[in-house]
Symmetry: C2
Subunit: 220 residues, 2 copies
Amino acid sequence: MKQIVIKKSVLESNDKIAAMNRTLFNSEHVFTINLLGSPGSGKTSILENIISKISCKYNLAVIEGDLYTAKDAARIARYNTNVVQVNTGGACHLDAPMIYKALPYINTTNLDFLVIENIGNLVCPASYDLGEDMKVVVMSVTEGNDKPLKYPSMFQRSHIVILNKTDMLSLTDFNKEEFYQDIYSLNETIKVFEVSCRDGSGLDQLIDCLMRAIKNKKDV
Amino acid sequence: MKQIVIKKSVLESNDKIAAMNRTLFNSEHVFTINLLGSPGSGKTSILENIISKISCKYNLAVIEGDLYTAKDAARIARYNTNVVQVNTGGACHLDAPMIYKALPYINTTNLDFLVIENIGNLVCPASYDLGEDMKVVVMSVTEGNDKPLKYPSMFQRSHIVILNKTDMLSLTDFNKEEFYQDIYSLNETIKVFEVSCRDGSGLDQLIDCLMRAIKNKKDV
């Protein structure tokens, strides 16, 4: 049987729906991030910190992407946050149509900030525009400093890297100098925030940055 | 444009080449593992430990899969091991044809043990049979104990789970009881080895298990 390459048309149709999502986010002034990273890098823990510090000031909603289970949505729901779980049933990334279908379950009117937590995967989700304002990638020091060069697309396409679990730095061989060298060689304008969800360090700077972006989008 | 679903035929043609690889491994009595896990779970560190303890007894070769770079192959080459780097150029998994093309660069005659280190990804590589005898998945305690239920295919299809970085256990919220409950609910016969590449604990048991499997394959 002939093998047909459909990647281009899949991405083309993804981009059309992503543009529709983006139009909606822009017209409603909703600042939207696509939260990416390996399994266990700490995306949900960071999201919990963001919610607890931002939800008193701004209206926030979350779309949780997972292959199976609603574990992360259940974690987020404890914060009385508007959350929708998207289960991909085995697919390794979220795509724009999945987000488009989830949006009716979120009231985007008066919404200020939407976080889309993607599938834990440092490869495939990088290729799919969801209509977001920013891609934010989380990596933990326990993963090793060689990851940016090994998974370059993710870091080339992201606006922010959150370097998580810095409280464990002394227990690892993570070389910060090499990490920064590699990161900036891939992406000159990327912002890096070093944080620890255990000791709380660095989270205020990250959250200030997000709050400025939310405010800017509202003022547009 | 009509969207054509080609997943079935891609996997079918993968399985044909995987069967050819398997025939070769069986006829040469080469015990072969497909080493899987998230980015940064510790696959290459575990492989370094395996090599240093097994290569004095058995002939060993490694196929290193990465999207880009030859960093891992360079690490492995330091042990004077027969190693081939396969770069997928962005693809998120190794497939059987990639292994088939790499095999001529390894002399399988008199080879006892082949380790294929897959792309760091807990989703896509689970679907692709490479012709291996065993899938071995590495996860680290720093990733959190919820990963098996969130990425079930990988754990359902693996013969061994290596739970790595146990020296960091006390710094995490990792719940071992839940982990074992979840793992065995997905896969009753899976073997679990708790190891730490930092303090060396658990590695001897893992390596004994692999050495028995290598010997069994030689004696077939």
